[in-house]
Symmetry: C2
Subunit: 378 residues, 2 copies
């Protein structure tokens, strides 16, 4: 995990010092005005200035970030020489920064999202996290939406060189954003945890520990969103959820992420975390018969269900308890609550998600399976 | 954690391919003949040759590695140009390789062990692990003995660039070496886990998971030393125990390591793991009143002791169960079994270990404390 990961109170004020060996001029990418309201913007500018680092700004990145902003950023790289792209924001801002960095020597960044491959050169990326959720501060991944296609790209070249996580910054987040972030990071663990690979004791138990720590502390935050210590656990957990080590030595799934991407591609108002909160329990109920041992382990080790002789009963109690946890976070339980109905183009979305093949690995989900799960969530 | 960590069956045969971008000529450091008997040496030479990498050998590194071998290796660096030091062995071989690498531009490597500071240049180090124990394959540390001083040195400059862990290689290890390795890696977790730092939920639970996974699989290995899957869990656990992430955000202890180093400095036949197995339960009984909550957590979460209203009883049951685990591995419970008696220079060792100050942090151990613990172990 090559990212220099800097964690703790006031740490964002070190950005200039940390970037000094890497950059004389940075492209600063951020979203709306929240970093101006909470003082982070001023702190960053002061630290950059103090360390002699110039910056040019690209702002207005929105949730489910769009390729247009990447094009805009790449055009800026053509006009001036930048050494690094600095993202101050959440997953959308960081992913946009990564995609812009891929445009160091090419204007056609989208071709890598659509067709894979490695850009000839990528600028280094640094991040200051403003919402713990996507794990993009430590991951080699980015997800960008272009027209109606929401696609992911993965390369070690886009893993951030430096990331700063200061839990103090999260204390003003509204509860729905806390909830969405928690659901996203939990899903990053689920996508790795649920596997048909055998003999994965150590990583299984690390995943279980990370899930339980996030869940316990997320409930504290719903009552007390300014609790620094709970934020520290949740945000460190969010980074560990996606820094790669919980995926070591196992076939990963990523079916729920694939299904969710179609929801927010269809309606960009759908928050990724909310979509995952709806889909995940339905996915679990649909796929658990493929490996009851794995889901029994989840129910007893993560959800603390007392095991019963009736395996299915224990498993279903675990899934139900997880859904109730999402409800306690204020998340919906149905697609209807997210605005979908029988009249939504569910079949079309399922076909777009699964493509000619399938989503996921725990149980390969062909488009008919995806449609079944969507319908079960209505 | 910057080490490129390559894990799995047959992976040591990739060494040439992995080193090709880094080196044209390597100094190959190893111990006795075991790597020649088990075929690892031939595999390594074939892979280096196939990738056009020349090598010169320094062999004969022993347990509790001595500075003389470092001097010998540094002299070899002066005669020919090497790009990298390749260690094929356990912690002693890897630590020797790290110390030699520190001699890229200086003959006086010992001064850094004695006085700290950073060498002007360090050659990159690569490792192929032959016994999981010390965690040196992922750590920025080395421990070297010079005359009667056994000292550690830490710098990110000596963290290996590449490490290969293939559990197949461990299948021929004798049981006492398995036991010593397991005790060492468990101690690496204990030294981080037992802390007075508060609000460390996530790392606590990751440490607990790693300990439990190592212990469960170590007992499998005592019955079935050729069990690949158990070796995979134990050896991955050994690397995670010492790659640094279990030490994030907490004051660490390292008192038991400090006390043990004096045992094997006094008598180099004392295996580090065996010394730790004797000292650790005694240390726990001596220090637990400083923070009963921490040891209660250990007893219930790691040792699976059913908690009782009598806190001390629960804690002591946890420590006793740990000691019985060490016994199940075939470890001694007293210093007498390691050859020490009332006539051993225990006071002198305690004074040398604690110096003018103290060992450890959970409870600072002045020389009188260290002597008390040594005596409690007789």
């Amino acid at each position: 995990m090559s990212t220099k990961y800097v964690f703790g109170k006031d740490k964002h004020k070190k950005i200039g010092e940390l970037l000094k060996p890497l950059a004389k001029k940075v492209l600063l990418v951020y979203g709306g005005g929240s970093i101006k309201r909470n003082g982070v913007y001023d702190d960053v500018m002061a630290s950059l200035k103090e360390n002699g680092i110039a910056s040019v700004e690209l702002q207005g990145i929105q949730a489910n970030p769009r390729y247009e902003k990447v094009v805009e950023g790449v055009a800026m790289l053509r006009k001036e020489n930048f050494d690094l792209v600095l993202a101050v924001g959440g997953g959308s801002v960081i992913d946009t920064a990564k995609a812009i960095a891929m445009g160091a020597k090419t204007d056609d960044v989208w071709s890598f999202f659509a067709n894979g491959g490695e850009p000839e050169a990528v600028l280094p990326v640094a991040t200051i996290l403003t919402i713990p959720a996507a794990g993009s501060e430590v991951s080699p991944d980015a997800v960008i939406t272009n027209k109606d296609r929401k696609l992911g790209y993965t390369s070690l070249q886009i893993r951030p060189a430096v990331s700063i996580v200061n839990p103090e910054i999260f204390m003003t987040l509204p509860k729905n954003q806390i909830a969405n972030g928690v659901c996203d990071m939990m899903s990053h663990i689920f996508e790795r945890y649920f596997t048909q690979t055998e003999h994965t004791d150590l990583i299984d138990s690390l995943a279980e520990s990370t899930l339980k720590t996030i869940m316990r502390n997320a409930l504290i935050l719903m009552k007390d969103p300014k609790n620094y210590d709970a934020w520290a656990e949740v945000s460190l957990g969010g980074s560990f959820a996606h820094n790669g080590f919980l995926g070591c030595g196992r076939v990963q799934d990523w079916g729920c992420h694939g299904m969710e991407h179609e929801l927010s591609a269809e309606d960009e108002k759908v928050a990724h975390g909310a979509g995952l909160a709806v889909l995940t329990p339905a996915w679990m109920r649909y796929v658990y018969p493929e490996n009851k041992g794995m889901f029994f382990q989840f129910a007893t080790n993560v959800m603390d269900i007392k095991s019963e002789r009736d395996t299915d009963k224990t498993i279903l109690a675990g899934i139900e308890k997880l859904q109730q946890f999402f409800v306690a976070l204020g998340q919906p339980t149905t697609l209807r609550e997210l605005g979908f109905t029988e009249n939504s183009p569910l079949e079309q979305m399922a076909k777009k998600g699964a493509g000619e093949g399938f989503l996921g690995n725990f149980k390969p989900l062909y488009w008919q399976d995806v449609l079944n799960i969507y319908k079960a969530c209505l």
